[in-house]
Structures are given as structure tokens and as C-alpha cells.
């Protein structure tokens, strides 16, 4: 699994221009959302958490779809499956790599959000933790569905179609937690939302790893 992770990270490092492109896409999305609301600073600040996560979600479909691209292009997946390695190790390697990438992307989008929406917070560590947990909720099913949809036509349409409804619980808890961090948390509900998010992460990571072997075999 470490080997698989290292391979993925190396691959991502080699294609870091792509990461830049996705980041710029996400930042553009954040910019466009603000036009959807119009010049109302107060409303923008209130919606900032939701916009951040929507931006990250839209960007994530790009990276997740891309993460199996190279495998599909030269049929390397079949080669990998012939190795005496557990397919689950490959899955977790890839999912971890995607997680790291999405987390970095989310962290990179935070300053953009703060500048554009005036949504500063003095609880930065919590915010970064929320983004990491939320990204985990995106990457586990995202990697699984990425593996599926990479093999079929219309993958750009199908990946979001399958992924978006599924990750609503994770997305919802992430948005709630983020907005509590930005807008203040009068009822001390942040811990509970984080627990819920963590619980969904655990379910996704366990179930998706379990089922991945079936998705790629033969």
C-alpha cells in the first residue's frame, strides 16, 4: 500500500501543472459564485462555507476523473492487477493520494475564499481539519466511482451523477462545520458535526475498500 501511495504521489508530483489548473478552476468557480449572489457582502459571507465546498466538489470531479486516466490510457491497470499485490492496497494507495491532493486543494482555496468573501476566521486549525475530513469523505467514494466511470463512455457526466447524491451527508456536515467556524458557533455544535463527518468517512472508507476489488477485477 505504501508502494502504491508512493507511486501515486510521484505521479501527481509529475503532473503538478494539472494541480495548478484544477486550483485555478476552483478559484474561478469561487469568483463566479459571488456573481450569483450579487454585491452583497453580508450574504456572501454567510454563504462562503457552502461556496467553498461547492468549488472544491466541482474541482474534485476533475481530479478524480483524471486519477484513472493514465491507467486507462496505456492499460496499466491490467498490468497492476497482474502484480501479486492486493487490489485493495492499490485502492487505498490511490484514495490516500486523492485525499492528500483534495486536502491541499481545499487548503489552497481557503485564502481565495477569505479574500473574495471576507470570510476570515480565527479558528484556522479547525477549518483545516474540517477540510481534511471532508476531503476524505469525497475521495473514498470518488476513487471508487472514478475507477468505474473511467472505463466507460460519458465519464464526465456519470462521475458527478453517481458521486454527488452519495456524498451529500459528508458535504452537508462539512458545510455546516465550516460555516460554524466562520460565522460563530453559539450552540457548540461543531464537535458533533465533526463526529458525524468522521463517522461517514469511516463508513465510506470501509465499504468502498471492500467493494473495490469487484470493480476492477477482470
Amino acid at each position: 500500500m505504501i508502494g502504491a501511495l508512493r507511486k501515486e504521489l510521484l505521479l501527481q508530483w509529475r503532473t503538478r501543472t494539472q494541480f495548478m489548473a484544477v486550483f485555478i478552476f476552483g478559484a474561478t468557480a469561487l469568483l463566479l459564485f459571488s456573481f450569483g449572489v450579487g454585491p452583497n457582502a453580508e450574504i456572501l459571507r454567510q454563504f462562503s462555507a457552502g461556496f467553498l465546498w461547492l468549488g472544491l466538489l466541482l474541482s474534485s470531479t476533475l481530479t478524480l476523473a483524471e486519477s484513472f486516466h493514465s491507467e486507462m490510457e496505456n492499460r496499466a491497470l491490467e498490468g497492476l492487477l497482474l502484480l501479486p499485490a492486493d487490489p485493495r492496497a492499490l485502492y487505498y494507495g490511490k484514495a490516500l493520494a486523492n485525499w492528500i491532493q483534495l486536502t491541499l486543494l481545499g487548503w489552497a482555496l481557503v485564502p481565495v475564499m477569505v479574500v473574495l468573501y471576507d470570510a476570515g476566521t480565527n479558528r484556522l486549525p479547525s477549518l483545516l481539519l474540517i477540510i481534511a475530513l471532508g476531503a476524505a469523505g469525497l475521495s473514498a467514494p470518488g476513487t471508487l466511482y472514478g475507477a468505474m466511470t473511467a472505463q466507460i463512455r460519458a465519464k464526465q457526466t456519470l462521475l458527478p451523477l453517481l458521486l454527488f447524491p452519495l456524498i451529500v451527508p459528508a458535504l452537508l456536515s462539512s458545510v455546516k462545520a465550516t460555516s460554524l467556524v466562520i460565522l460563530g458557533d453559539p450552540m457548540h455544535a461543531l464537535g458533533s458535526w465533526l463526529m458525524l463527518l468522521g463517522a461517514f468517512d469511516a463508513i465510506y472508507w470501509a465499504l468502498c475498500g471492500l467493494l473495490y476489488g469487484r470493480v476492477v477485477e477482470d
Partner: protein
Amino acid sequence: MDYGNNRFPRTPYILIAIGVALFLTGSYFGLFVAPPERYMGEVQRIMYVHVPTAWNALLAITFALVCAIIFLFKGEFKWDARLEASIEVGCLLAFLLCCQGAIWAKPTWGVWWDWDPRLTTTAVLLFAFLGILTLRKFVDDPVKRGVWSSVATIIAYVDVPIVYFSVRWWNSLHQLQSSPETVSSQFYIPLRVNAFAILFLMTGFIMLRARLASLRLAQEVAPPPMLAEEVGETA
């Protein structure tokens, strides 16, 4: 190779006929015999379709989960056909459920829709399974299609217990599940009759739809004769 006449070709039609008869009976009782509720008045009669639809939608999706698991273990295509059938019927029921709920909510709650936990999770359920149906349309290899939609079904099923328990775990606008103690006995008859009506209709539909799916499958895997026989037996 006579696909049109399987071993029990009439069973689904009989089930559907019983379902229609029960639905007419139950609705007659619900609309004309049962008294109006003391606060909700006539509008409460929507319950006699809404609640049975909800039960059966969850039942259909649960049957889809069972099919998915069996298909993953056994790899028999009849389970794939049943999976497709139960997801499609489940989606139809879930869609109806949302519409009926909105119609009931407007005069009683005062709004068509609200992002209450129960409503939100039900909408998520509908869209997750619609996504799986779409996925099936885009995969040409029957084996991959079966495996992937089974996998996706198992993952999407995580939402079902959340739908069911949402009204207990969180405070919500949607009322709790009702129980015999909270429902007047005059309301039982239409509720139960309609529950069975939709159950029969659903079963009939799923059987017919599974037969359709297996006919298509049989053409796709264009027959090594043994497989065609096995698929032909479905439903």
C-alpha cells in the same frame, strides 16, 4: 426458446390485478368511508397513499440490496435483472413519495418542501438510485454493468437506514412513524388495504420488469444455449 411464456407467465398479471382491486377498495374506504382527521380534515386522506408508498419504496430498495449482494456472490444474471427491476420500481415509488409528501405538506405544514432531515435524505435516496439506473445505460459489458450497479447499490443503501431513523435521530418537521396507538382504528382499514395494494402492484411490476431485463440480457449475451436457458427462467 419461447421467452414470452415462462413457467409462471400469469403470476405478475394476477398480482397486478389483485393490487388494482385492493387499491380501488382501499382508496374507496380512504376517500369516502373513513372520517376526516380532527385537525387535518380531509387532507389527512393523503396518508392512505403516502404511507404505503413510503413502506413499499423502502421495501423495493431493500430488495435491490438483496439482489445486489446475491449477484456479487453468485454472479447469476437473473439477480442482475431483478436488481434493475427493483431499482426502477423503487425510484418510481420514491418519486411518487416526494410528490405526495409535497401535496400533503402544503395545506398542513404550510410549505411544499423544507430541508427537513427526512425530506432531504429521501431526495438523496431518489437521486442516488436514479444515478445507478443511468449508469446501467452507459455500460455495455453485461458483467461489468451487473457488478458495478451492485456495488453502487450497496453503497447507496447506506442512506436507507438514515431515511428511516432520521425522524428519531434529529428533531424534524416530519412527524414520527405512527403506530397503532397513535392512529384511530377507523383509519386502519384503508391504510392496510392500500399497503397491500401497493405491495402487490410493486411485486407484479418488479416481476414483469425483471422479465423485460432478462430478455434484453439474453439478447446481449447472445446465447450460448445454457445461459439463455438460465436467464429465460427468470421472474
